[in-house]
């Protein structure tokens, strides 16, 4: 029998969400995530667990790629190709933590940018809130990251670097990275449907940003050009603050970090509003 309990009524018009505010968007996000949390869990289960089901190494892959990346940076440092400046701790430990943070940021970006693609198989057939795809992707990324990060901490200790208590605040410290990465990704998820070239440029731009952010070198590197760029690059303050707090328990960039964090929240809400206003009309271009 049809579900008599369901008294939902909805009206679709051309400008359905045009008047939604950024706070309205936030409220809608929370409402949808709460209502569809089981869907997020089911999709997460499908994508996370199943991605390793056919692999002999399984979740081991989460460790292999960052470790190989660390080995290559350390090798470049050891051979003198890379001069990272005074990083304050062993370079291997420095690059292990920094590249983990950067990969997490890129993971958030990837989660956002694949929001519409992730459900392409049924996005035009079944009605459901598409932002659950973003959070499913974020969960997959976070799960992948967490397993690797716990082992990275063990490796840090082996390398003689004991993280400070700020390590427990890590989930909070990375929030601005989530808002910027996921926000940018969500925006380019829309753009990639109607302007593929621009979203490809964005991906290239982020690859370039890696070199203009003090990830594999110190923030105060002895290079005027890089120093200038680092000073105007908000990512510098986020990465440097998180890294310094975990290594040394202090940072000289609290002010910048908090300001960028606040702006990142507003940026994410702005993009979320754009997403709500545009998603249905962008989705029809996926035909």
């Amino acid at each position: 029998m049809p579900n008599q309990m369901n008294n939902q009524s909805v009206t679709y018009t051309a400008h359905g969400h045009a008047s939604i505010s950024i706070f309205g968007a936030a409220a809608k996000l929370i409402r949808n995530l709460t209502r569809h949390r089981q869907l997020i869990v089911q999709l997460f289960r499908r994508d996370f667990i199943m991605s390793y089901k056919k692999s002999f190494i399984g979740v081991g892959w989460i460790l292999i790629s960052p470790l190989i990346s660390v080995v290559s940076w350390v090798f470049m440092n050891y051979t003198g190709i890379l001069q990272p400046g005074d990083v304050g701790v062993s370079y291997a430990a420095f690059v292990l933590l920094s590249s983990s943070i950067w990969s997490l940021f890129m993971g958030f970006y990837g989660s956002g940018s694949s929001t519409l693609d992730a459900g392409a198989e049924f996005i035009q057939q079944v009605k459901y809130p598409h932002e659950v795809l973003l959070f499913k992707q974020v969960l997959v990324q976070t799960a992948n990251f967490s397993v690797g990060f716990l082992l990275n901490i063990v490796v840090l200790v082996i390398l003689g670097v004991v993280p400070t208590l700020y390590i427990f605040a890590f989930p909070l410290l990375i929030l601005p990275l989530f808002f910027i990465g996921a926000g940018l990704g969500l925006f380019f998820s829309l753009v990639s449907v109607v302007a593929t070239d621009i979203s490809r440029f964005a991906t290239l731009g982020l690859s370039l940003l890696f070199y203009f952010t003090p990830v594999v070198y110190a923030a105060n590197i002895d290079n005027r050009f890089l120093n200038t760029i680092n000073q105007i690059n908000p990512m510098t303050y986020l990465i440097e603050t998180i890294r310094s707090l975990i290594f040394f328990g202090q940072t000289e960039y609290w002010g910048q970090y908090l300001l960028i964090s606040a702006v990142s929240v507003l940026f994410f809400l702005f993009v979320l509003r754009v997403f709500y206003v545009s998603e249905s009309q962008v989705i029809e271009k996926m035909l």
Binding site: V10, Y12, T13, A14
Partner: protein
Amino acid sequence: MQAQTVIKIENVSKKFTRSIKRSMAYGSFDLIRKIVGIPVNRSLLRPSEFWALEDVSIEIRKGEKVGFLGENGSGKSTLLRMINGIFPPDTGSIRVDGSIGALIAVGAGFHPHMTGRENIFLNGTILGMKRKEIESKLEEIIHFAEIGEFMDAPVSTYSSGMRVRLGFSIAVHTKPDIMLVDEILAVGDLAFQLKCLRKLADFRDEGGTFIIVSHNMQVMRNSCDRVVWLESGKVIESGNVDLICSKYEASQINKSYADEQSSQQFSKDNKISLDPQVKITSVELLDEADNAVEQLTLGQPLTVKIRYNAMRKVLVPIFAVSVHNGDGQLVIESYSDKEGLNLKEIAGEGEVVLKLPKFAYRPGIYSFTVMLSEQTQLRKLEWHEKSYKLSLINENLPINQGLTYPYPNWSHHDHRTT
């Protein structure tokens, strides 16, 4: 008292773009305007855009079974997606009261490495069911899908039929207030199709509202209370199922007839003459009033008039007429010598007439082949292969999917003793 309106479609239009590049350009342009808050006028067509739906207004009441009928590209599936909230209208509004379930993408989101059981939870959640609801219906879903022993095997090991059965079973158990169904008879084997139809009938009997899109007139006639005929994005007519289905079939037949007349396949030049001295000079299809016709109403008499000109004496001439339906099936084959016309010879000009008292076949286009032989079927003089066309339409007979309509007459005799 009239039932409550559950779907109200008011002056809805939807446009799409023919060119992909322009579609992307307009999409980018509209996205920028939305970001900066400049409203987009969606009621105007830009170059390369066309109306997939134009000024459509339909009202559907609780418990109604409505069929959307129309050719490919008429806008049926677009309208279904808009009711489902996937595409927004460009003008007008669609109000939906109640939950919607769509039997459209059965099995959407299935993961091949997950078991059938795991996929029930995944797919059921995608379709809006809660975990507890799925748990309570799990056995029913498994039983309906008929894949009990494979339930804990990965879906990748399923046949395509099993996969579709499982997808359909999950979708049909979501129990929405309004069910959207797209080409239901494309699901599984015959037994499963019958089971699906029965499930839909249960849904209907329990007061559910459903909208069905199908090319199958029989499904429309058996399942719907009302039909909406769409063509090029506009509502042509809405109302009585039999009447509109018949009109739609007639329109389809007329279109096919026009297409076929212009196609090479049915060229009137497809005539072979094996004796230059003997000619079939004309063949006419005549109605009851002896008017030459290209279209006839099902069940009416039809006459085939064959004129010839023999410049020599033809001994024991045999005329033959065969009729094929649109699927190429032979429905009539008639030889003059076997059916009462034993001619000894013909010479000069003359005509033979074949009368068919009731031309009662399934509506469609029929092609007539006319032959003339001498003494034996092996000695052909003239052969006009499928050179004459007749479109047959139905006005009010309850014709089904059978090839012919033999004016059936059912009766019942109760043998119980009282």
